[in-house]
């Protein structure tokens, strides 16, 4: 053990800085890999299927329940002021600007992000990534950039799907169950949702897509260089937990920052 606490603090600081630097370079290489031929169409399609199609069910249930809860709670709050007619705009704005992009990113992190992290972590500890390097096959182009491209396409689409299902859920709870006028539900939505709101939600979903893939694959890719996670299978499980936590927290922090800047 190292006795000197100042030296330990210094070492921790250095390792945090080098970790950040590594992750920064990793992000650049990941983006660069998207633009360098040859394009890995098969791997891209596989990832599109995994991240996009595979997440449809979980996104459907999350969106339906979120939309229905929003419909019910919105109704109770608005009913106090006799403003039930605002339900449509309240539900749709909350979903499109906030909950759609954030919850989609969080669900994709939990479902696909954890899997991506574990996959790369296992490939790293079993020297498969070293083997790619030794064959002079770029692991970014081969493994990571297709994931980024697939996420950039599927996460915004999943967000749109989330919004639609959520609005339908709000309709079922507010209009069908609580008796809000269907015309006012949709009219309120049409009047209040602007292109700027949709644009904000879309920008968020693109940013979250990059963050999820960056953090989740990056943690797995560097599992061998991270301090304090141990070795072998245990290190992959720890790093996967870390990836999900870091990715989720970053999504929430960036959600606030993007809202503050772009609203």
């Amino acid at each position: 053990m190292q006795a000197n606490p100042i030296a330990r603090l210094g070492n921790t600081g250095l390792s945090v800085i080098s970790d950040l630097g590594r992750m920064g370079l990793y992000l650049l290489q990941m983006i660069e890999g998207c633009f360098r031929p040859p394009f890995r169409f098969a791997e891209f399609m596989r990832q599109l299927n995994f991240i996009g199609v595979g997440s449809l069910v979980v996104i459907f249930f999350t969106a339906a329940s979120t939309g229905m809860v929003l419909g019910l709670q919105g109704y109770y709050s608005l009913h106090k002021f006799g403003a039930e007619g605002m339900l449509g705009s309240a539900v749709s704005l909350t979903l499109i600007m906030e909950l759609g992009p954030v919850l989609t990113a969080l669900m994709v992190t939990g479902r696909a992000g954890s899997a991506m992290c574990a996959e790369l972590g296992i490939m790293r500890i079993s020297e498969q990534i070293d083997a790619l390097d030794c064959m002079a096959v770029d692991p970014f182009r081969y493994l990571i950039s297709p994931k980024l491209l697939a996420a950039l396409i599927s996460i915004p689409l999943l967000t749109a799907f989330f919004d639609v299902v959520g609005i339908a859920g709000g309709y079922i709870a507010g209009v069908q169950l609580m008796g809000v006028n269907p015309g006012s539900y949709f009219e309120g939505m049409r009047n209040s949702v602007t292109n700027h709101d949709i644009w904000l939600g879309t920008v968020k979903s693109f940013v979250f897509a990059v963050m999820v893939v960056w953090i989740c694959t990056g943690r797995g890719y560097f599992v061998h260089q991270l301090r304090g996670v141990g070795f072998g299978a245990g290190s992959v499980s720890k790093v996967t937990t870390q990836a999900v936590v870091f990715s989720s927290i970053s999504v929430l922090i960036f959600d606030y920052l993007l809202t503050a800047v772009l609203l």
Binding site: N11, I122, M123, E127, A131, C134
Partner: protein, 260 residues
């Protein structure tokens, strides 16, 4: 014969432990590996044998010193040059490092698909020929998880040999193999080296058997290296740690004593 000699000049490498302290793996080591010959690197676990291989491949960076390969210092090269440099190597990793999501055939064909302009039928012929040579024919559609340890090693070897490397690195090539397969793998090494003439470096615990292949033996111990020009020379070393190493790995050396 090629000119791919490898030379370590005052190479240093250490790691920072989780508690912040430093663990020195290589302490200013000097040695050279002659071209076209076989060098065996031996030593106890955790003495830096695999690290030495990773330094040669540029997968890890040395903290100091120079590594000359064919006269060029490779500690400074990066990017495309590093990639070109690595193309000269064939590597058989400790756990074979086959890609889990690909079949044996796809694994062995990968370097040819990625690094050559060969047609699918040429690749197929070459891959099937080497699978036959390594007695893997009939298993080409299996995934690595369905193979035994020995089969994985052989598939890894087949993959490493596809691009006709100038330098072959073997990280524990026979761990987990039965004696018959070990013998066959060693014969295959000797045979392919004769044909291709690559420089080969074998990291192995399989002492003394692996010495049959060795032209030179390097023993790693506590960050230092002892180089022996032949497997025989190691047995006559007077250094205490080498004597202990020889005794544990090869048994007592026979010496005749006169009873006084």
């Amino acid at each position: 014969m090629n000119n791919n000699s490898i030379e370590f000049i005052k190479v240093e490498k250490s790691f920072v432990r989780d508690d912040g302290s430093r663990q020195v793996i290589l302490d200013k080591v000097n040695f050279s590996i002659p071209a076209g010959k076989t060098t065996v690197i031996a030593g106890e676990s955790g003495t830096g044998k695999s690290v030495t291989l990773k330094l040669i491949l540029g997968l890890m960076r040395a903290d100091g010193g120079q590594i000359l390969v064919a006269g060029n210092d490779i500690t400074q090269i990066r990017g495309r040059k590093l990639k070109e440099y690595r193309m000269r190597f064939g590597v058989l990793f400790q756990g074979a490092a086959l890609f889990d999501s690909m079949t044996v055939y796809e694994n062995v064909a990968l370097p040819l698909r990625e690094r050559t302009k060969k047609t699918d039928s040429e690749i197929k012929n070459q891959v099937l020929a080497s699978l036959e040579q390594l007695e893997l024919l009939g298993h080409e559609h299996k995934y690595p998880a369905q193979l035994s340890g020995g089969m994985k090693k052989r598939a890894g070897l087949a993959r490493a040999l596809q691009l006709e490397p100038e330098i072959m690195l073997f990280d524990e090539p026979t761990t987990g193999l039965d004696p018959v397969m070990t013998h066959e793998i060693y014969q295959l090494f000797a045979q392919t080296q004769k044909e291709v003439g690559f420089t080969s470096i074998i990291v192995s615990h399989d002492i003394p058997k692996v010495f049959n292949l060795a032209d030179q033996v390097i023993v790693l111990n506590k960050g230092k290296m002892d180089v022996f020009p032949s497997p025989e020379a190691i047995q006559w070393s007077q250094k205490p740690h080498i004597k202990a190493f020889v005794k544990t790995t090869m048994g007592e050396i026979y010496q005749s004593h006169l009873v006084e």
